[in-house]
Amino acid sequence: MFENHVIRHLSAYHHGEIPPDEAVRIEAHLRTCERCRSANEQVQLGARLASALSVSKAPADMWIGVNRAHPVSSRRRWRVVLASTAVAAALLFVIFIRSHAPAGSSWEVTGVPGMPRLRPGEMLQTGSTSEAQIKIANIGQLTIDRNTRIRLLVTEPDQHRIALDRGRVEATTWAPPRLFIVETPSATAVDLGCKYALEVEDDGSSLLHVTLGLVALERGSRETIVPAGAFCRTRAGTGPGTPFFEDSSTRLQSALEQVDSLAEGPERTRQLQVVLGESRVRDALSLWHLLPRLDMQSRGLIYDRLAQLLPAPPDVTRDGIIALDPKMLDAWKKIVSQLWQ
């Protein structure tokens, strides 16, 4: 009878995850039911196929990366700092704006005397010889460098948002993407699951360095995706610049900065040609982000170089890319974006 079929139990039966009396019933049923016997053969074959999976060796250099970011190391450093420091404590000052702070969730703070928690609406500022550690709710950790000022804007289950007014923070998160957001004067950094450092200068410009995962820098309709191993500058008034990998040539980096800051004209075209000439396949990251930001003539030059580095799919044309055809951009992006995955 239908209710006696055992198909849904067959994998558990195969793996010995069925109580003995139930296993006996399944065995008896398989002897008489062709349908379940056929399904059992499928499960057995699937299990044999899956057993073909073998372990791959992790890259040998991985421990170095993990150890470098090891929070224990920084905790030990922090103990040394604490131990040496009545003087440092004197230089550390913290500003509370408690009168405007609503009740509710707060973040645990370490290393700031008199400030065990940071609440929405409060500001934390470190001094010239002090650092602080903050737990971003249950989704990550934030290291606040010296001479840094942050404000906690929101901490809710679906969003945690701070403002970084000046100074430098290092963030490590293990949350779903777009849950942790840092506002700076020139752009908003949206965490896509990663580890990164973000520094804001007094003029409001900033520098982002991603070491794990991805970060999106946003301002208005402009979005820049910065993957692990890449930097991106932002400028007050113009927002995110063009990302570049840390191992790109210094000539490329310097010319890219010029392209980002110059207005359309012969000098910008000259700098663009330096960028194109210096680009390796990996630097398609930069070229891809430049594409929609420059004029049509520049887009043609970028297309030509990008197509040499990473040939476009057959249905993607030069004219289409210059016109920023969304379908063609999307088709090519699938190839180009492999580089930063």
Binding site: A12, E41, A50, L53, A58, N67, H70, P71, P176
Partner: protein
């Protein structure tokens, strides 16, 4: 398949911040965590490396809160599962997977021909697994890379044991349907 176990002393040492103990944990689990990431992301080595680093960073950051030592590997694989699923969600807009890379750690007892057959079968299995829904995929990887019990997989995936059984059942039958033509090659390679 050998299961890795880390003794209570090592975990306690990790909780005290002993970096050598962390190194032991890392060495014990790194290949399996990396392999799960590699298979989950269809051979994307950079993604697998990121996942492995992220998992161990998270482990190091939170191990002081870990209480029930008998469930260490379940906890670890929950971190792996979350990391893989989160990253997949994060990269939905950007990911374009490359083909699986050459597989490592060949069994030296096999002949060259056997190894070739085995590698081809494994390549095909990986491709089919990569095409499964993420939750199905992760159940298969935890079963076949770490040989976790259904209870342990259920704990890692935050679902019931029955759901694990159902997911593995579906996964096995998908593999059989799509790779039925490899039945004789499988027998030859065994």
């Amino acid at each position: 398949m050998t299961k890795h176990t880390i003794d209570d002393g090592t975990i306690e040492a990790c909780q005290r911040g002993d970096s050598e103990a962390f190194r032991l944990v890392f060495e014990a689990y790194k290949d399996r965590v990396y392999s799960i990431g590699l298979c989950f992301f269809d051979g994307n080595e950079a993604a697998a490396k990121d996942i492995t680093q992220e998992v161990f960073l998270k482990l190091m950051t939170t191990i002081s809160q870990f209480q029930n030592r008998s469930e260490f590997s379940t906890w670890l694989y929950r971190l792996v599962t979350n990391a893989c699923l989160d990253r997949k969600r994060a990269l939905r807009r950007f990911l374009f997977f490359t083909d699986s890379r050459e597989l490592e750690l060949p069994d030296p007892r096999r002949s060259t021909e056997d190894r070739y057959i085995q590698r081809e079968i494994e390549h095909s299995v990986r491709k089919v697994i990569a095409g499964m829904k993420p939750k199905l995929r992760m159940a298969v990887l935890l079963k076949y890379f770490e040989d976790l019990s259904y209870d342990e997989i259920a704990a890692a995936l935050a679902c019931s044991k029955g759901t694990v059984a159902s997911r593995l059942n579906r996964a096995h039958r998908i593999l059989a349907r799509k790779l039925g033509h490899l039945r004789s090659a499988l027998a030859a390679g065994e």
